[in-house]
Amino acid sequence: MPEEILAKDPQLGRVMDVTMLGPRGVGKTSLLVSLYDQFHEVVGSTPLELTTSDHATRTTLDQYRQDLRAFARGVRRDRGIEGSVQLRKYIFGLGTQGKRPPQMRLRFTDGPGELLATSGPMREALDAAVRASGILLVAVDSPVLMEAEQQHNDRVNQPELVMEFIRDALAEGGQRLVVIVPLKCEKYVASVAGARELRDAVKERYETLIKNIADLPVRQDKAAAGVVLTSVETVGSMRFSRFEPAGDTYREVFRLAQIGGSYSPRDTDQPLRWMLRFLINAYKDRSKTLGERFTDWWSFTDTKLTNGLQKFAADCKERDGFEVFVRHRYLDLP
């Protein structure tokens, strides 16, 4: 279980670990690209900065970005983006603007869905990542959930496996946040009614998980978890059109929402806002050493950073595609 939601890494300093679970090719890495690209726009006057900490993250995101922008213009729209095949980590720096090195890192581990049904060292590495993560992000392929009477859902989104996996992780204890993120959801969130239908479908399909978490024994300072839903449009301009037969299975086909449409992601910041709200509350709740108190006092870092994070985390959406399924004390406005 995570000792603290903000762990200390000898090389990286303070790290918030996030494990992303979801089928390969659903858009987990694209979500990170959009989140990174949009951050400086959505952060507003808050003096926060998101940076790519390591070169591998920067290079990979750049390559995904090129594909994503081409896809958003309708180029190669049926080809999609080549999915990851291995357990990968992406590291971002988060801190007050201009501060080097940044005060904290966000380490995202991408757990391809295929790994959930396997055993071996990759799976063990995924298990270890989940144990260390205070935040579990469940990426959901929205068209698969919403269309064709969910006939592809069990195979693609693997809700039973995901729920079982999270249940095992939660059994280890600690304070955790589960963020359910429907992706490729542009078609549904275009209207309030569609967003509600999507929310209801998620709620129904992940009911066991939500109920399990809601039923966790609520004890002060003991194991507990919260669950939030945040629908994200990673591309904005492309909407699901239809499933096309491909051999013994199907292929997702997307179309431009309007002629001349281009890359215009929306709400990519929402998962991060919820994660940071959870983090700030957990961070304030932590026990500080004397050295940490002195360092924080000396550099004023703590005050500036927590004020910035607090301001950023205040804008969490809670309706029309966004909802708190299970409340946790760390989800309250800090």
């Binding site: 591998a56 080809r79 999609g80 999915g83 095949v85 357990l87 060292p121 299975t249």
Partner: protein, 262 residues
């Protein structure tokens, strides 16, 4: 066909087919070897990083190293063999292949070095013993191009040469690295310490990381970043110095107060 076991190397290939059930998976060249063993090699650290971390996610990469347990390993990714289905995988995504070689006996480094030279020269992909029958990948044991038996193995010098020390090359210099690798003697290779990377061709690692890993040859396009990293690191150093001076001043103040009041 040469018996690969006699060369002391186990080969694994990772690729996909066009069908739903044909996602990326490991195939073993030797039918009696468990293909899933490849994952254990991929996750074993070399110089503190796994082979997965030493390769780029999207672009081709090459690693030749001596593992922490002294076995030589060779890993090349994102290769596109000639027979790969043009339509791509189930989602029309381009199919690529990776090859992993593990030396299982003394002297097994020869074929791995040859494969690395071939990869640097851009010839490795067309030598891979893979075919796709009805869209599903399989190892082609009839392939005459595998295992790698380049002339280099036979003509490798038998006396120790000048051991290279952490050379960084631009990506256009793959042929320089290939020539240098091919001319390495068996004695030089035997002398390579465990946990040491011999060759790293990877556009995803920054100079800071390369400096820490100290591969004998690193091929990287990253030249401009050096300035940025130096700048960042300098700024971090100043902040640390300021903190240390501040702490020293604080300690001195406390000492003076204690001396004055006690």
């Amino acid at each position: 066909m040469t018996d690969p076991v006699s060369l002391g190397v186990t080969w694994y290939f990772n690729t996909a087919g066009i069908g739903e059930g044909d996602g990326y998976r490991w195939l073993s060249y030797e039918t009696h070897h468990d293909p899933s063993a490849a994952d254990f090699v991929l996750m074993a650290p070399v110089a503190g990083l796994t082979l997965v971390e030493l390769t780029a996610e999207r672009n081709p990469s090459i690693v030749l190293a001596r593992n922490h347990d002294s076995r030589f390993v060779f890993y090349a990714t994102r290769l596109v063999p000639p027979g790969v289905p043009e339509e791509g995988d189930i989602k029309n995504r381009r199919i690529s292949a990776s090859v992993l070689g593990v030396a299982t006996a003394d002297g097994g480094h020869g074929p791995l070095v040859d494969a690395a030279v071939s990869a640097l020269e851009g010839d490795l992909a067309r030598s891979l013993p893979l075919n796709w029958t009805a869209g599903s990948p399989a190892v082609d044991h009839q392939s005459s191009s595998w295992p790698m038996t380049r002339d280099g193995t036979a003509s490798r010098p038998q006396t120790a040469g000048h051991r290279p020390q952490s050379v960084r090359l631009p990506p256009t210099s793959r042929s320089i690295a290939a020539t240098a690798l091919a001319s390495l003697s068996a004695i030089d290779l035997d002398d390579l310490p465990p946990d040491q990377i011999l060759l790293l061709d990877n556009d995803a690692l920054g100079l800071e990381e390369l400096d820490r890993l100290r591969p004998w040859w690193a091929i990287t396009p990253l030249v401009k970043e050096q300035v940025t990293i130096a700048g960042n690191s300098k700024s971090g150093d100043w902040q640390q110095l300021a903190l240390v001076l501040g702490l020293a001043a604080f300690a001195a103040l406390v000492a003076i107060l204690l001396w004055a009041f006690l």
